[in-house]
Amino acid sequence: MREFSYARARDVDAAVSLVADNPGARYLGGGTNLVDLMKLGIERPELLVDVTGLPLDEVVDDGGRLRIGALVRNSDLAAHPLVRERYPVLSQAVLNGASGQLRNVATTGGNLVQRTRCGYFTDPTMPCNKRMPGSGCPAIEGEHHNLAILGASDHCVATHPSDLAVALSALDARVGVQDLAGPHELPLEDLYRPVGDRPDLELTVRDGALLTGVSLPPLPAGTRTGYRKVRERASYAFAIGAVAAVLVVADGMVSDVRIALGAVASHPWRARIAERELRGGPATAEAFEAAAVAELDAARPLRDNAYKVPLTRDLVVAVLTELAR
């Protein structure tokens, strides 16, 4: 582990000025991902700027939109009354992730930009395009049973590990960002770059940009939301399949639906094709299945992760059927 300096940011501007334009600097949230990667020698920062003292740790109602500070801890987010009341899917997703101890320290911002769990990425003695651009992707022919089936490339088939991000994606979240040019907002979906030939470049925002928070639009009355996650053990494991869904059914017809899939791609996968198929149509198990199949038509599974295709399909059907009941 490289020796590093540590600074506590006094305010947002100071934090940004320390990290932006400094490739050796990193924001430190709960540290549950960053510090692990530092111990393994995957991240080797010179400077850690601890942002946990910044006043970005509140959940507030802002004229109907819910604003969640980037430093709200996962546990606090899941337990917040406004979240539980308005966006149960979000609370469920967070509680399905990690463990109680981790959620107590992990932050909203850190969760969204945590790195992949691909075993080659976290072993510095192995090649990996994401860690060492151009070194190759051993996962494609190797251990990939929990890697991507959608949107991957010949350069990387990693998945994004977050549960929280999947729920936020289904909720049409927007992300607040601040860089040297000042604050701005973008849809969560636009935060993540497609994999392409540079899997090392994961985000669309500038290096050193600080995530300041996320905001959620209100859901119409009668909306039902739900999250279901499948993992290899009953608790404390990353998803091998996950579905977050937001559904409004009127008179047996789908009037609105938003579906995000986890554990299938390098970022939360909005199932736009399935949503289009369903909108305005009947809210039946058959329709749900047809929509899921249409979405997964683009799936390109590898040798050992083809099971994820039927798993994800059935999970979509199960979650939507439950919500439509």
Partner: protein
């Protein structure tokens, strides 16, 4: 002699762990906690190729890094004696035997600086073609001279082929179990310190005495120079067994080189290639039976892997030598040496994977014959060990099966598969038998009566967290006929003399023998009026002759496991709401710690059935999921209701304490019971572990 009990007997009572308070308050010191003045830290530089030669290490650059005191490597390492243990022949040449093998050790003033310097040490390799791919049809598979720990490779009785050819019902199947890592909570750590011409090694080992002996020979030390201290251990599961693991030898080497105490602690990823794992196995089981399910032939063949450093052959098929009666019985093993880390003992080595093969095949036979699986096992019960013909000292398998069936509510079970749908779940039940050898090994123990009225027992035993120290306290107190509060049991110190380690479920049986005998002797001497000198009066007993004089019998603990499972129809998630285990394990010294051992064993069996798999990428010769986030060990949420019960199992042919050992039997057969239940739930046989969603998902379709 008349004896007056000063205390009610303690054996059979649920005494809580004598060191429990020290552990929960943090007072107990584990190997890596021991504070020593001048302590420095060694960090392993692991090979990053699976096979080849080291042609250069930039030692000068590493020595110039902050805090670095020295670098140990093949050119400055002491020459070691060849003790027939390749994993300890560290830095003796430039060969790389597997990925992750130590090629150098960096010693620095803090662990962080040692780690940084080790990770930045530049090593040049000349790689050679390698093979790390275990396959059941590997052309390199051969028949070794013996299998672990010292069993015949092959047994052959009668004419298996002819009997199978003539059998009314035949089951012929292949079963696979994956590589698994022990993953004890406490990582391996060793601290060596020289003082007064002796070297003391504080380390986390199950075998303090054996490790001291082997390191003495490895380093060519004068007898008595080496002392190994291992007071508390945070789990081992075989992974801290004998021989010493490389961290121990590295610490001694480094302390000798720098003349200061040196600590070598391994990280979780380093444990994967360096401290051992359970080999993957491929098994073929052939059963021939008459229409009623009575076995006429049983064949169990097993293949496993070892490294280039040592021949280590998992005794997978020996499970079939002692379980069910068959006039024609053949068991055999083959092993292949690959460019992989060295496999080692992991909880119930042999029996755990082997019982998956046989007990799964028995379930398939029950299905084929239309006989209830419990009844099938009762029909094939025997009072003589099938392979050797030796009588059992006691065998209460039938009692375990009947009592288990009663407790679990097995009667009236509909044997047909895939008939019980409950919402999103398929439900099913399954069972398996279990056995584990009840061995005893020579050990020396001392007990001293003090003038204070207290007694001190010294024996180089180990308490892995099992409760062994507590059980020995109870055995000693009863043998002395004194209250447990007056007895202090000191363990984990090689200076206490020869002792078997905590392995093979033989700890309490082996240590208890000399402890009980020495205590009886001391009680007798005190009762006969022998004076108590100021330093106390000591009795010592070495059980070597007594153990050797036992009758030739087949000694085993027996058990039966019953499982209920639920399998999600669409996702393949398998849940185990209920497990019942019933055991015949000789005398239960402490029902509280015994139950905990069996709960732990059953949990490990469940974990092995559903979760655990070390994934080797053969192209690199390394395990990819070498951390506890990706190698899944059961969490509380995975474990449902566990029901543990004992049947009475008096047995005078064991040892003075009448114990058979119960550390490992709890795992044996559990994976098969769960796999059999998954078949009952879904109608799909699971012949390969673990049964994760990816395997079970096809079941419901």
């Amino acid at each position: 002699m008349t004896r007056t009990w000063q205390a009610a007997p303690s054996v059979g009572h649920p005494l809580t762990r004598v060191e429990g308070l020290d552990k929960v308050t943090g007072r107990a010191r584990y190997a890596a906690d021991i504070a020593l003045p001048g302590l420095v830290y060694g960090w392993v530089v692991p090979a990053t190729i699976p096979r080849g030669r080291v042609i250069g290490i930039d030692v000068a650059a590493t020595l110039a890094m902050p805090g670095v005191l020295a670098v140990l490597h093949p050119h400055n390492a002491p020459r070691l004696a060849d003790i027939g243990e390749g994993t300890l022949a560290l830095f003796q040449n430039d060969r790389v035997a597997h990925r992750g093998a130590p090629v150098a050790l960096v010693i620095a003033d803090t662990p962080e600086r040692a780690r940084e310097a080790a990770e930045r040490t530049a090593v040049d390799y000349l790689p050679e073609p390698h093979d790390a791919d275990f396959r059941p049809d590997h052309p390199g598979l051969y028949t070794p001279d013996h299998v672990n720990p010292n069993n015949a490779t092959t047994t052959d009785k009668g004419d298996v082929d002819a009997a199978i050819a003539g059998a009314a019902v035949v089951v012929d199947r292949e079963y696979r179990t994956p590589a698994q890592h022990n993953n004890a909570m406490e990582p391996h750590s060793a601290t060596a310190v020289w003082a007064d011409d002796r070297v003391t090694l504080y380390t986390s080992t199950q075998y303090a005495y054996t490790v001291a002996q082997s390191l003495t020979r490895l380093f060519g030390l004068a007898p008595g120079t080496m002392r190994v201290v291992s007071e508390h251990i945070g789990g081992g599961f075989g992974n801290k067994g004998a021989p010493a693991r490389p961290d121990a030898a590295l610490a001694v080497m480094a302390a000798t080189l720098v003349g200061r105490p040196v600590r070598v602690t391994l990280t979780r990823p380093q444990l994967y290639p360096l401290t051992g794992y359970r080999t993957p196995t491929a098994q073929r089981v052939r059963l021939g039976a008459d229409e009623d399910g009575r076995l006429v032939a049983l064949e169990h063949r097993a293949a496993s892997q070892t490294s280039r450093l040592v021949e280590f052959t998992e005794q997978t098929a020996i499970y079939s030598r002692a379980m069910y009666a068959a006039d024609n019985l053949r068991t055999s093993h083959r092993v292949v040496a690959l460019d992989v880390p060295t496999p080692r003992w992991m909880r119930a080595p042999g029996e755990a994977p082997g019982s998956f093969g046989l007990e799964s095949a028995m379930d398939e036979l029950a299905e084929a014959c239309g006989v209830d699986p419990v009844e099938l096992r009762l029909r094939n019960d025997t009072q003589a060990e099938p392979a050797s013909g030796l009588p059992f000292s006691s065998r209460r398998l039938a009692e375990c099966l009947r009592e288990g069936a009663r407790r679990f509510g097995w009667a009236g079970r509909d044997p047909r598969p895939a008939g019980r749908r409950d919402g999103r779940w398929w439900r099913g039940t399954g069972m398996a038998g279990a056995h584990y050898p009840a061995r005893t090994a020579p050990t020396t123990a001392h007990v001293t009566a003090l003038r204070s009225g207290d007694y001190v027992v010294r024996v180089a035993a180990t308490d892995l967290g099992t409760g062994a120290r507590t059980a020995l306290t109870q055995l000693a107190a009863d043998a002395l006929e004194v209250p447990v509060t007056t007895v202090r049991v000191l363990i984990g110190d090689s200076d206490f003399g020869p002792a078997h380690g905590a392995g093979g479920s033989m700890g309490t049986a082996s240590w208890g023998w000399p402890v009980v005998t020495a205590c009886h002797d001391l009680a007798h001497r005190l009762a006969s009026g022998e004076p108590l000198p100021p330093e106390g009066l000591t009795s010592t007993f070495d059980s070597t002759d007594a153990v050797g004089a036992r009758r030739d019998l087949s000694r085993y603990a027996f058990g039966a496991h019953f499982a209920e499972v639920a399998v999600d129809v669409s996702t393949g998630e398998v849940r185990v709401p209920r497990l019942t285990g019933v055991y015949a394990v000789g005398r239960v010294v402490n029902p509280l710690t015994a139950r905990s051992q069996l709960l732990g064993g059953m949990t490990m069996g469940l974990s092995c059935a559903l979760l655990e798999e070390s994934m080797m990428d053969a192209r690199f010769g390394g395990f990819v999921n070498h951390n506890l986030a990706d190698y899944h060990v059961a969490t509380n949420a995975d474990v449902g209701e566990l029901d543990v019960a004992f049947v009475d199992d008096p047995d005078d042919e064991l040892n003075p304490s009448g114990v058979k050992g119960l550390g490992e039997i709890g795992i044996v057969g559990v994976p098969a019971a769960i796999a059999n239940a998954v078949w009952h739930a879904t109608g799909v046989r699971q012949r390969e572990l673990p049964i994760g969603p990816a395997r079970a998902i096809t079941s419901g379709q």
